[in-house]
């Protein structure tokens, strides 16, 4: 099995082949290993990864339909306006592999890992990147993108190397799976990213649900409960009826607040 390993300099990708120093056969190099044993002559070799760049890809574990359903779940959640589930519309959905540089370096004798976007982007969540969980596999010519667009790096690795501390252990380019969603709500278009590995949602700017009606309902119930009890004790127990009224009024009004417009509430 052949593995293609590349280096990037001045934005040009070079392929590097690791070969057995004894018999010259190509060496299989697995992610996360520094040693490789030649399958022909059995000689173990140390793989120097400081210069080479390994290409990895994190497969999608969330389908496009599932990403729509995740979006729908999010719109029904407490962060979004309550009519959002019913009225928000997905206008575009793109399945993409987004490139990220991953630097493993030694800083003051300690291993540090840094991730940086390998492509200029305004997408939410792409600047404070953490590689999401997933089974990283080597990315090579045989890798199937499965209908996803592979976004290629447009930022040179050198532009980050200068700012990083320490000395390199290895560096890699990780393609990670994302769904880029555009949706319309209340006449405005918004963007969001759903990570295609764990389903995490990243947004920078999204419609918010106001808490005013929640506070108002509880304040009303509180006032009725307070006045009813106080007057019930001080003047006549008839005022305790206000407490009961508070519970009923609260229940009815709170239900109106919670109820989703299309009856989608449970």
């Amino acid at each position: 099995m052949a593995f293609n390993i590349y280096t990037i300099s001045a934005n040009i990708i070079h392929m590097v082949n690791f070969t057995c120093p004894k018999c010259g056969a190509p060496l299989p190099v697995k992610p996360g290993t520094q040693l490789s044993v030649c399958s022909y002559c059995g000689t173990p070799s140390y793989i120097d990864r400081r210069e080479a760049i390994f290409f990895y890809i994190l497969p999608f574990s969330i389908t496009e339909d599932a990403s729509r359903a995740i979006f729908k779940r999010w719109t029904a959640g407490p962060a979004c306006p309550k009519d959002m589930e019913a009225t928000a519309e997905i206008t575009a959905i793109k399945k993409e592999y987004f490139p990220v540089f991953r630097f493993r370096r030694t800083v003051d004798g300690k291993e540090k890992i840094a991730a940086r976007p390998a492509r200029g982007t305004l997408l939410p969540g792409m600047h404070s990147i953490e590689i999401p969980p997933g089974d990283m596999v080597i990315f090579d010519s045989s890798t199937k993108a499965g209908g996803a667009e592979v976004l290629h790096p447009d930022i040179a690795i050198d532009s980050y190397v200068g700012d990083l501390e320490g000395t390199p252990i290895d560096q890699s380019l990780v393609y990670f799976p994302i769904y880029e969603l555009k949706y319309r709500y209340g006449g405005t278009e918004y963007a969001m990213v759903i990570d295609g590995s764990s389903g995490r949602i990243s947004v920078t700017n999204s419609p918010k649900r106001s808490s005013v009606s929640y506070v108002a309902v509880m304040a009303l119930a509180f006032v009725l409960g307070f006045i009813g009890t106080l007057l019930g004790f001080i003047i006549t127990p008839i005022f305790f009826v206000l407490v009961i009224a508070g519970i009923f009024a609260g229940k009815i009004l709170a239900h109106k607040v919670v109820k989703k417009p299309d009856g989608g509430s449970s």
């Binding site: 520094q34 040693l35 490789s36």
Partner: protein, 201 residues
Amino acid sequence: MSIVLQPLKCLACGAPLKSKERDLMLICEHCGSLSLFADGKTSPVEFAIVKPTVEEKDPLWYVPFWVVNADVIVHREKISGGGISRAVTGQKQMRGTRDFYICAADAVPEEYARVWNMELTINQPEFTTIPEFKNGSRMVMTMEKDTAGNNAEFIFLRYEAEIPGTLQELDYDFIVKSAKVLYLPAYKKPTSYMLGVLNGK
């Protein structure tokens, strides 16, 4: 293929080292010299074997200790209460340069090791050394050199906390100067351990 086993060799004569037990002190079958396993390799180590001063019928073991020589400089200390009892009992101060004893064998239960460590560190005994593990066996050493210094510092703090009075504030420097290995004789009784020095304390 992610794990590598590197054979260890004797520092003195280069012969491959053999051992039946996971001992950080490795003895060469060939030339008899002892070397210390630390940071994945063998290195030379200063060590001595202490002559027993008490005789018992029980099996004799030579227990490895790290003897950490350190400077204790206390800049400021505040203790609440306990001053009188300290004056009466003549409690020694743990200050200046001294040897800290840290039992380096897992085989000795912590309940004995911690008592020995404190006794030896307080008493700073003088020992007669012998050239070999006479009439007894060498106990396996499990504690690494790196941790001996911190263990020594904790003994100092333990002492300051355990003496009468309640420790309130402490500002000090603890400077480790050297560490060597000392094998102290101990008798393994049916249900306990007894040191073969310090009159069996």
